[in-house]
């Protein structure tokens, strides 16, 4: 199975981090992450980096040492496009606490702005909002995540929706799309499950493939005055043991996962 759209990467001219600035047409986030396949390699980030295409790919750094790794990566591979995944997805979001504002070595809880700025200072091309994990059917938490993200007034921010795998099922995907459509920021989906392997769940693999359904949903969204689609999808693997690539989902046996970026609705 091949997703023809994703199989032909968008040849963006922006292969290196770009200062935040008003760009004509595509949004800043589209320009820097659009069409790239991001690799998440965990503790093998530095050894994997030389094999990552600077033009068509990128990396996602995660874990408590991500900021430190970012400094090394930025120094050794200055052209590398990367994002820093916040640890927030490991904590349950709630209506009262949609964002998880915690930072290592910080005496007081940081502000959202501080957390985002620290990612950018570390060299990330965009800032990933520290949203909590949205449990299955917890619409109030999902909307609270959206509400909190809407208050982030920067155009380099990505809203990750760390959500239970079953949000991609027929009962819930409509609401997930409706919420994502309202986002002022580009949306990244990170799917996970509270128990076991999300891909082993009934409909798990189909759930990942359901991003095509997401794209259809996004395509029906209102268009910006420039005629460009307002929304895009960024599919992020919620697990580290499986390889996600285009429309095929296969066990890789390695600790790496591939993040497929689909900015296609133009």
């Amino acid at each position: 199975m091949t997703d023809q759209i994703n199989a032909q990467p968008i040849r963006t001219q922006v292969a290196t981090p770009t200062p935040r600035e008003a760009l004509a047409g595509a949004s800043y986030v589209d320009r820097v992450v659009g069409g790239r396949v991001f690799t998440m390699a965990g503790s093998e980030t530095m050894s994997t980096a030389p094999h990552v295409s600077l033009e068509h790919s990128g990396m996602v750094l995660s874990g408590p040492t991500a900021l430190l790794t970012a400094a090394h990566l930025h120094a050794r591979h200055p052209g590398m496009v990367f994002l820093i995944e916040p640890m927030s997805g490991k904590t349950m979001a709630s209506k009262e606490r949609p964002l998880i504002l915690e930072m290592q070595d910080s005496l007081f809880p940081p502000t959202v702005e501080e957390m985002l700025q620290r990612q950018r200072v570390a060299g990330a091309v965009a800032a990933v909002i520290p949203a909590g994990f949205v449990d299955l059917g917890d619409a109030e938490a999902l909307k609270a995540v959206l509400g909190a993200a809407q208050r982030v007034e920067r155009d380099d921010a990505i809203l990750p929706i760390f959500a239970h795998q079953k949000w991609m099922g027929p009962d819930h995907i409509g609401q997930l799309i409706a919420v994502a459509k309202r986002s002022e920021h580009r949306v990244a989906l990170a799917l996970g499950a509270k128990q076991g392997d999300p891909l082993a769940m009934k409909g798990g693999v189909e759930g990942y493939r359901a991003r095509s359904l997401l794209r259809r949903g996004f395509r029906s969204a209102p268009q910006r005055p420039g005629g460009r689609g307002r929304y895009s999808t960024l599919l992020v693997s919620g697990v580290s043991q499986f390889q996600i690539h285009v429309d095929a989902v296969s066990r890789s046996g390695s600790s790496s996962a591939v993040i497929t970026v689909g900015v296609t609705d133009r």
């Binding site: 299955l136 059917g137 917890d138 619409a139 109030e140 239970h164 079953k166 009962d171 819930h172 409509g174 609401q175 799309i177 409706a178 919420v179 459509k181 309202r182 499950a193 509270k194 128990q195 076991g196 769940m201 009934k202």
Partner: protein, 335 residues
């Protein structure tokens, strides 16, 4: 209402014509409103139908045509579905005549937005709050609905292929017609399912049944609380049977809830379903719940009688013959 009453009585035009002596052609025109029956013919038809003559000449309220919901709707004979629809339409007149504004409707419509931004679960939580059910199980669903002005009528439906039906026409109150053949646990879920239709659905859709089930599950077993109960220990049939007493829903409904909330895996869900089938619990479940009995209509009739009105007066208001009214709202209510 001639055609509606005829269908509610389960008669065809030909059968009514034969019994009443009024030609089928005339009946057909009368039902369409093209001609009016003279006094003698009207009396003959009313006599066969066992209905007040005044009811038969009432215009049909087009807005009161109800939806019929059933889990195996396709297996329900059309004639039965039509009869029950007509019965429900007539029931609205009976309810309006008896209740007469005594109990205000404390329930609000909340249609699902077409873009899916709101979920049935969210609406279920709102409705729970509006009915004063703050947390935990709904102890007496029928009583909660009646307190909100929803009329629940429980009687034989003439078919076991349908559990319940509901309609909430504009300018009327919601009326639920509930079959008396279903066990209490199933009755509660059916009632919550019909409540969902009343609140969320004004226009039929392909997903309406699944949406109503999701509403009913959240309404009776709110995720925030039931998840803790289901996660407290291993999910087994005996554990679910214990929870059945608390949550007052079927073991099957609790099992499905555990799977929907990701408390148990797909494999465990399949395994427990097989266990339920092997034990025969698909037909008859252990742990019998207390039946919930509607009381609103009976109470209102009693109140009016205490205030000095006669059975004949109230029956006339309800567009029923006195004997049938007494049977439906006095004898059955007392039983």
């Amino acid at each position: 209402m001639l055609g509606t009453v005829r269908v509610a009585r389960g008669l065809t035009q030909a059968e009514l014509a034969k019994s009443s002596g009024v030609s089928q052609a005339v009946l057909s025109k009368a039902e369409s409103g093209l001609v009016s029956l003279d006094e003698a013919r009207l009396a003959a038809v009313a006599d066969v139908l066992g209905a007040p003559a005044g009811l038969l000449t009432l215009p049909v309220d087009e807005g009161a045509v109800p939806y019929v919901f059933h889990r195996k709707r396709s297996t329900l004979p059309l004639s039965v579905a039509n009869r029950l629809r007509a019965e429900l339409e007539w029931l609205h007149l009976q309810v309006a005549g008896v209740v007469a504004g005594e109990v205000p409707v404390g329930l609000a419509r909340h249609p699902l937005p077409p873009d899916g931004f709101e979920s049935p679960e969210e609406i279920a939580r709102e409705v729970r709050a509006s009915l004063g059910v703050t947390t935990g199980p709904v102890m007496d669903l029928v009583a909660s609905l009646e307190a909100a002005g929803v009329v629940v009528i429980k009687r034989p439906l003439g078919s076991e292929r349908i559990d319940a039906m509901v309609s909430w026409p504009e300018a009327h109150r919601p009326v639920v017609l509930l079959g008396d053949h279903i066990p209490p646990d199933r009755q509660r879920f059916s009632l919550a399912h019909e409540l969902a239709h009343a609140v969320m659905h004004q226009v039929p859709s392909e997903s309406q049944e699944a949406e109503a089930d999701r509403f009913a599950a959240e309404f009776l077993m709110p995720a925030q609380v039931v998840r803790g109960d289901l996660s407290r220990g291993p999910v087994t049939v005996p554990a679910l049977a214990q929870l059945k007493s608390k949550w007052r829903v079927s073991i099957a409904a609790l099992l499905r809830r555990a799977w929907d909330l990701d408390v148990i895996s797909d494999g465990r869900y399949r395994q427990l379903n097989i266990e339920l089938s092997r034990a025969g619990y698909r037909s008859i479940e252990p742990v019998v719940l207390v039946d919930e009995v509607p009381a609103l209509m009976g109470d209102l009739v009693s109140k009016r009688l205490e205030l000095g009105e006669s059975v004949a007066d109230i029956a006339r208001d309800a567009f029923l013959n006195e004997e049938e009214f007494a049977d439906l709202y006095l004898r059955r209510a007392a039983a």
